[in-house]
Amino acid sequence: MNDLSPERDNRIANLKGLGCSRKRVEDVRFTQGKGNYVDDIKMAGMLHGDFVRSPYAHARVVSINTDAAMALDGVIAVLTAKDLEPLGLHWMPTLAGDKQMVLADGKVLFQGQEVAYVVARDRYVAADAVELVEVEYEELPVLVDPFMALESDTVLREDLAGQTSGAHGERRHPNHIFLWEEGDKAATEAVLAEAEVVAEEMIYYHRTHPCPLETCGCVASMDKVNGKLTLYGTFQAPHVVRTVASLLSGIEEHNIRVVSPDIGGGFGNKVGVYPGYVCSIVASIVTGKPVKWVEDRMENLMATAFARDYWMKGRISATKEGKITGLHCHVTADHGAFDACADPTKFPAGFFHICTGSYDIPVAYVGVDGVYTNKAPGGVAYRCSFRVTEAAYFIERMIERLAQELNMDSAELRRINFIRKDQFPYHSALGWEYDSGDYHTAWDKALAAVGYDTLRAEQAERVEAFRRGETRKLMGIGLSFFTEIVGAGPVKNCDILGMGMFDSCEIRIHPTGSAIARLGTISQGQGHATTFAQILASEIGIPADSITIEEGDTDTAPYGLGTYGSRSTPVAGAATALAGRKIRAKAQMIAAYLLEVHDNDVEFDVDRFVIKGAPERFKTMKEIAYAAYNQAIPGLEPGLEAVSYYDPPNMTYPFGAYICMMDVDVDTGETEVRQVYALDDCGTRINPMVIEGQVHGGLTEAFAIVMGQEIAYDEMGNCKTGTLMDFFLPTAVETPHYTTDFTETPSPHHPIGAKGVGESPNVGGVPMFSNAVHDAFRAFGLKQSHMPHDHWRIWRIAEGLGLHG
C-alpha cells in the first residue's frame, strides 16, 4: 500500500481527527444566541427562589421574622434553618470533610451568607420579599486575618467546640482546621542551615474569584407522582451532585436525574454544592413545583467559591554557583468560614506539594495550616482546590528571589536547575512522579523566540535613561517556567467524597456509520464536543463530523467525576480512546468475517480495515457498522458499542515557558504589556486551535489576577469588591496580545499521549506577569510586593523605593 497516496491523505483529512484545527462545533449555537443555560429553562408552574443574605461578617442571628414577607402577594414560602432542621438539611457536608450551614443556624460567619430562602411566584416578587424579611443580628468580633484568627479568643466555629481533631488530623486552635505536611522537615532544615546562599520570602497569593460569565443556579423539579427528582444546574460534576443529593435527601439515586445544560464558564466555581441547590430541592419537594434559583453577579462574587488566599513563607537554598539544594515552605491558608474545598481526602492542600516546580531540588518540606476566618468559603476555583497555581507562583517567585540573592540572571538560574530530560520519569522530593518533560529545549526555544539577551540590553538602557531623568517608565521582563500536575487522578490517591477520580466514555456506533459518545465529564466552554470527537475519529475511523458528543445528563452519561483541574482530556479523553479501541477490536473481527479472512489478516487503515498486503480489498467502518446490525456473525453479538472506565496510572505533567515584557509607569502605576510569548507543552495536541483558545483565555485570567483582580475585605469583613465596577475583569482593550508556541512531549502513560492544557496558562501566566512587575524594579532593590499589582500598589512600590524623588 502506498502510504503517501493523496487518496489516503484525503481520507485522513476527512476524519478531522487528532491534530486538526477543527472549528468548534459548539460555537454554531453559542454565536447565534442558541445556547441553553440554566436560566433559559422554563417549566410549567415554576417558582423562583432568592436569598436573604447576611450584611455582617460575624454575628449572632437573634431572630428572623418572616411575617411581612409571607404577607406579600405571590410569596409561597420563606425557609429558615428551623425549617430545614427536621430534615437534617440545615447543615451539609462539604467536599473537604467539613460541614457548612445551608441557612444561618444561630449565627452568620461571612458577609453574604445565606440566612433565609424566599420562594415566590416570580423572581420580582421574590426579590421584594427578601427585603421584607426582618433579621435581628447581634454583631460579633470579626476575624479577616488568618494569622490573627490563630491567636484570637474569638471562636468562629462554635459547632466544632471541643473537637481537637478534624477530617485532616489535629486542630491546635478553635480556628485551626488542619496542619498538613509533606517531605523531610529535619533534612530540609539541616540543608538550609548549612547553605551557602538562602533566599527567604513571604509570598502572598491574594484571594480572587473566577467570575464566570454565567453565575451559579439550578432548577429543581420534584415529580411527586413518580417520585423522581430532576435537577438542572450549573454543575461541573453532575454525577457527584446526584450522589450527594441522594445521600443528603434519602431519595434513591435512580430516582434522581441531574442535568448540566450549557454552562457559561466554570473555572472551579461550579464544582461545589451550594445552599441554593439544597434549598431549591427542598422547596420543590415541599411545593411540588419546579423551583428555579439563579444568583446575581454580586452574590456570585461575594458568596461562591473563591480562589487562593495563601500566605506562603518560603526559604530556598543554593550553592554559590546557583545549584538549588533545598526548599522549605510553610503556608497559612485562609479557608474562610467553612472548609469547602474540593480536595482528594488525602490532600487537604491539594497538590500544593508540586511546589518544587520544574527544578531538581534534592530535599524539600511543605507544611500547610488551614485556618477559619470570617470570609466566604470555597478555595475551589481557578485551578480547583489543587493549589497548583499557588505552588507555581510560589516557586517562580522564590527562583527570582534566589537569583537576586545570587546576583544571577534568573533565566540562567532556571536552566541550571531544570530537571533534565534523561531524569524522567522523575521522582520529586515531595513525592510526585513526573511523567515526561524536556524543559531545556522549551526554555531555549522561548528565550530565542523573544530575543532574551536583546531584551535585557534594552532594559539596562532603560534603567540608565531613567536614572538620567529621561523617562519615567521602567521595563520589566517576566519569566515563568511552570510544571503543571493535572488529570486527577489515580483512584488509589484521588477521590471526591470517597468517589475515585476515574472517568468514562460510552460509545454507540449507529448502523449507518455515525456515532454517539457520552462521557462523565461536562464542558463549560472547553469545546469537548469538538475535541473528544476528534480523539474518537482517529481511533475508529469515523469522521468527527459524524460523531455526537454528549455529556451532563446523569440518566444517559456513564458515571464520571466531571470537569475541573484540566482532567477531562487526561482522564475522560483516555477513556474515549480506550473505548474506541474496543470498538475497533470488534470491527476488526467483523471486517475479517466480511472479507472472509482470519482476524489477524486484516489491519486498520485510517477509516477501514484492509487485508494485509492487499489494500484494495477492504471494508470501510461504515460498511462494518452496517454489518454489525444486519448480519448474523458467528461468535459475535450484534451491535457495535463499547464503554470504558479509565483509572489513570499517574497524573500528567504539562509544562510551559512563558515570557512577557511590560512597561511600568512609576508615577501613575500604569502598566502596558508589550509582548507575551507562551510556549505550552501539553503532550499530544488534539486540536491546536482549541489549545490556542484555552491559552488565550487562561492568560487573560492570569493577567486579570495579577494586575487587579481581588476579593478584598475591610476589617469589618465587608467585601469591597462585590461588583464588576471594582472587581477587575479586563476588556479587549486592556488584554495584551499573545503569541503562542509549543513543544510536544507526549505523556508516556496516556493512551494518546495528551496531557491537558486548560489551566496551564493560568498557572504559568500569574508568575510571568507578576515577575515582570518585580523585575522592572529589581535594579532598585525590590524584593517582594504582593499582588494584585494595580495602579496604586505599583505606585506604592515606587514610593517605597524612593523613585518619586
Binding site: R123, Y124, E131, D296, E670, M725, T731, W792, E799, H804
Partner: protein, 284 residues
C-alpha cells in the same frame, strides 16, 4: 439585582413631564439614558416608584451652534457628542472627554443632561462643564432659570437643581486655543482615578488665559481657579506646571477607595494635570 416595583411614564412633552413631577413629588424621578439611575435602582440604592422617561420629548434633543455659543439639549447622548463634526470643531475638548467615558454601549444611551444632573463626583462632564464655564438651563413650575456649572454642585448627588426641575439644556462658549482632557482609570468602563480638563490660550510665548477642572478628587468637581492663575503669564514651563499642580493640590480633597489611598490620588492628580497642561499647551 432586581429593582423594586415602579410605574413607568413616558411623557412626550416637557410640560407633561413637569406635571408628573408635580403630581408624584418625591416618589418621582426623571430618567434620561438610565445608565446611572438604573444601576442604582437595581442595587436598591434608589427607589423610584414613578419613573419618568424623557426619551420621547424631542424638544430636549439637538445640538445647535449659534455663532460662538453652543447649546446642547439635555438628551444629547455622549455618542452624538462624539459624532458631531461641528461640535468637534467648536469645542474639541468635548469629544476628547466623551471618548474617555465608559464604553460605546453606555455612550449610545448616556446623555449629557443625565451626566451633569446626576451629581456623581465620578462623572466626567461636570468638571468639563466647569472648565468650559457652561450654563445649565433648568425648567420648573416657576419657570426657567439658568445656573452656572461652577455654582451647580453642592455635595455628592446634591445639586442646585430642585426636585421639581428638569434640566433642559447646556450652553457654553466655543473654545479657542489649546485643550486637553486627561484621565487615568483602571480599565475601560471605569470612572476616573483622577481626571483633568484644561483649556489654555496663548498670546505670543505666554499663556493668556486658562481654565482647569479636576474630576473624582472631591465629592464635587473641582474648578481650580488658582491652578489656572498659576499658568497665566507663563510659558507653561516646568516651574509653572509645578505651581499649577501645587495650587490644584490645595483645592482637591480626594478620599480613599478601591482606586487607592489619598496620597496616591494626589500624586496621580498632579501627574494627570501636568500631562493635560503640556498637551493643551502643545495645541495652542
Amino acid at each position: 439585582m432586581i429593582p423594586a416595583a415602579f410605574d413607568y411614564h413616558r411623557p412626550d412633552s416637557l410640560q407633561d413631564a413637569l406635571g408628573l413631577l408635580q403630581t408624584h413629588g418625591e416618589d418621582a424621578r426623571v430618567m434620561a439614558g438610565g445608565h446611572s439611575l438604573i444601576p442604582m435602582m437595581k442595587l436598591r440604592m434608589a427607589e423610584v416608584p414613578h419613573l419618568i422617561d424623557l426619551q420621547a420629548i424631542t424638544g430636549l434633543r439637538g445640538i445647535t451652534i449659534d455663532g460662538a455659543t453652543l447649546r446642547l439639549g439635555a438628551m444629547v447622548t455622549q455618542h452624538e457628542i462624539i459624532e458631531h463634526a461641528g461640535l468637534s470643531c467648536a469645542a474639541p475638548i468635548l469629544r476628547e472627554a466623551a471618548l474617555q467615558i465608559a464604553d460605546p454601549q453606555v455612550r449610545y444611551m448616556g446623555t449629557i443632561g443625565g451626566n451633569v444632573a446626576n451629581g456623581d463626583p465620578g462623572n466626567d462632564m461636570p468638571g468639563l462643564m466647569q472648565c468650559l464655564g457652561a450654563e445649565f438651563t433648568l425648567v420648573g413650575p416657576d419657570g426657567t432659570r439658568s445656573v452656572a456649572a461652577r455654582a451647580f454642585y453642592e455635595a455628592a448627588y446634591m445639586t442646585a437643581r430642585t426636585d421639581d426641575e428638569i434640566l433642559t439644556a447646556i450652553s457654553f462658549p466655543a473654545t479657542t486655543g489649546g485643550y486637553a482632557y486627561e484621565k487615568q482609570k483602571r480599565k475601560i468602563g471605569d470612572y476616573a482615578t483622577a481626571a483633568a480638563a484644561v483649556l489654555l490660550t496663548r498670546k505670543g510665548g505666554t499663556c493668556a488665559s486658562a481654565s482647569i477642572a479636576m474630576t473624582n478628587l472631591s465629592d464635587v468637581p473641582v474648578w481650580s481657579e488658582a491652578a489656572a492663575q498659576a499658568l497665566v503669564g507663563t510659558a507653561c514651563d516646568d516651574t509653572a506646571i509645578k505651581a499649577a499642580m501645587a495650587a490644584m493640590d490645595a483645592d482637591i480633597d480626594p478620599g480613599e477607595d478601591n482606586r487607592g489611598p489619598v496620597a496616591f490620588k494626589r500624586h496621580v492628580a498632579g501627574v494627570i494635570l501636568s500631562r493635560a497642561i503640556s498637551r493643551a499647551w502643545s495645541r495652542t
